[in-house]
Symmetry: C3
Subunit: 327 residues, 3 copies
């Protein structure tokens, strides 16, 4: 694997989930794979779970890790081509990416959506430029429109805990005070659409995700109806895609509560975190037996460890190929 | 050891000091203990000595270390229960601690005093919640009311250098321009009270520490009288406990100088650093032969290394217990 | 080697370049050298290339690395002696350096020029004080007036690619919107003057470097004339030394372009990065075949790895000496 930016970069998601679950059983079984290999983690905005889980997974695989919070430790990157850089941007992404590629065998990169210009965000221009100019395998640590490591961890969590072959999974919008990207919701939908689950999305009108992410999911604007008989409920806020980046409603009545949980098939309740208590999810659910949020957080390690292993395997096999050629 | 938050968590402080001194002699003797174990260091405010000494000690023990400056790299934590999180706090300490517990075998955590609400600070609410929700052994890297790793390093320093079995140790208040917590002074007093030294505290009136920390110490408001015959003088500023968080006096005449040193038994002069030269301590003392501040800083490594070893030993023995059970 | 702060600390630069090129061929050949040795990297201002390349080199040598961004993670240092520290500086460099020396076997330290007081900057007061008080070998990660690791990487790059024994190397000033230090230019000149190249410096009048750095270089104010027949062109902005820290001209016509490249001997074009595209260097050059900026960035690893190896070798030989003495 040379790029992990969406579910479309995965040739066999069942095999990837199986690999992640195998890593979870024996976390240090492949620690020789990463010897003398360096992972660079580049963040353009803050991270807790993603940074720590990726760092941990890389260490489990015997890699060295270098973390760079470019927003805090570095400077503003120029991402437009052909401009005269006489303003506040200090370095062009062409050079920054190229340099980091010189120092790292694999790079994890996090960009983010500006939530102002939809075309710009959905073009994934910054992420794609970074991939192009760094010249080494890249793993998305979240980009403007997707968060594939989160989605893989979510899928692992459902696969571990599902009681039927084809569970009903509901992605439900939840209220928030800040406009948030659609990345986690998009990505979750994208992965669910690749798996043969009964997948439903529910949200107030006006919050429809982009058609390419909705895919074959059933969309229901009535949350209670959507939740009926659900085995897993994924709670997440996102801002409007149509009225791009806007908050359209306070979302009264959309918080996930125990009362709503009664409508489900005793569903496991999921959230990618950080979560706003009392707004997105009630305390009673987060502190109760149905919450799977820590399971998801734990599975972030095994998700990225499986992806890193695939990248390392490819690097090593190419290295062997080169050695053979040079014989 | 599953918690190191105060001297009360230590069953035998003599044994702990002996362990620290043994680690100092052979820093890498136990490097197999930490193999495949991860230490998370979580800071809610800046750190120099504590971060570097703890990182170094953990590496000496063969551990992996992940550092998270939550104040700089992360976001504001909510610590109150039952609130609707529709303000500026992004994540509740229940989830943040729980997640970090998923990624780390041991966590070092630093919280701090707000110096506004005494009851809140002295309840150690944030620190205790973190311990409760992270679910793994926790080492205090300083909390609102205590700094036990500093105190242990201080004790090691005195034990290494004392010339009599029962030295006279004087904790003296010093002037400062900013209101500082009582944590270092409280903690030093707490540890001194556990050891059979001749322990004296001196400060201007109004600066009395909380009774539970003063304990059996002799309190003298006249600094010169207190310093008479001292073998060790610990210099430290703190703000008022009674008039909570306030600076009551500029403290003219309370700076430790060579002239005052003449009153002592050629005392070793200690400070936890950072120190304000010319305000808390004179240049002549800090640059002279009686200063022990670098000895203390060095002993921070062995203090935390001894504590980490005790945590690792317990984790490993429990792991063996589990293995036996699962046979 | 106990200090690497300028070319004058190097006894044999040809040998150092050869060592760096050997490290590049077999990056892990000396990984046993750094076992149980800790490198501290202390930054007083942001760094991308220097931090990552040095971290990577140290890991290649088997060292542990601790990074401290004092400007972001720490606090303001006092550097003047004899002051009463009742202002905003929290810790004196004497203590800060001394403490870090207790935790590290080698320290990389980055200070910077204020560009206000020339005598202060050119005295290298902060850097020298850090070296004096930390008590362990120090490697400059750039200081007020020099950037020796960059210059060594530049020299390696030229040595690798030169087609004649004595290439013509031109250091040319370039426009910028911010006043920048002279450090990179000074340092490059200093290293070039030690090597038997044909070395030319060109810049608008008023931008002459300090005489001790210009040395035996030919200075030509006409850029086109200077570039004639150049084998390597080093492009870099700096602010005025005479009119200290000032920008004297917008520098119209001084940007390096393909048109100017035609005047050269198909020169390799160098820059230390970060570079302002469209201002210092044209896109066409940076994206074209003559750009060596990524070669230089890559060689930063081998430059510092060679320097670190020399420091480690000395530490280990002294350690053996001590062991022999103690037998």
């Amino acid at each position: 694997m040379k790029l992990f930016s969406s579910v479309n970069d995965v040739s066999n998601i069942y095999q990837l989930v199986a690999e992640a679950r195998a890593q979870k059983q024996t976390p240090f079984a492949d620690e020789v794979l990463g010897k003398h290999k360096t992972l660079g983690l580049i963040f353009l905005n803050p991270s807790l779970r993603t940074r720590l889980s990726t760092q941990k997974a890389a260490l489990n695989l015997g890699m060295q890790v270098m973390v760079m919070n470019l927003d805090k430790e570095g400077w503003a990157l120029e991402t437009q081509d052909g401009v005269i850089m006489n303003g506040t941007t200090v370095e062009h992404i062409r050079e920054a990416a190229g340099v980091m590629g010189e120092y790292c065998d694999i790079i994890g990169f996090r960009s983010f959506s500006g939530l102002v210009n939809r075309d710009e965000d959905y073009s994934e221009d910054i992420f794609k430029k970074f991939v192009k100019y760094c010249g080494v395998p890249v793993i998305s640590l979240e980009s403007a429109t997707r968060h594939p490591l989160q989605s893989l961890a979510d899928l692992i969590t459902i696969e571990e805990l599902k009681k039927t072959a084809r569970p009903k999974v509901v992605l439900t919008w939840a209220p928030h005070v800040k406009p948030l990207p659609q990345a986690v919701a998009n990505s979750f939908a994208e992965w669910m659409n690749k798996i043969d689950y009964d997948f439903v999305i529910t949200h107030p009108e006006g919050y429809d995700l982009a058609p390419e992410f909705v895919g074959k999911a059933t969309v229901i604007y009535n949350q209670n109806k959507a939740l009926a008989g659900a085995d897993f409920v994924y709670v997440k806020n996102w801002s409007s895609y149509q009225n791009y980046g806007k908050i359209l409603t306070a979302g009264e009545g959309w918080m996930m509560t125990n009362k709503k949980l009664n409508l489900t098939n005793n569903a496991g309740v999921m959230h990618c975190l950080p979560v706003r208590r009392g707004l997105e999810l009630s305390d009673e659910i987060l502190d109760g037996p149905n919450s799977l949020v820590l399971n998801q957080a734990n599975n972030r390690v095994w998700a990225v460890q499986a992806v890193l292993k695939m990248c390392l395997t490819q690097i090593l096999s190419e290295g062997e190929g080169l050695s053979e050629m040079s014989i």
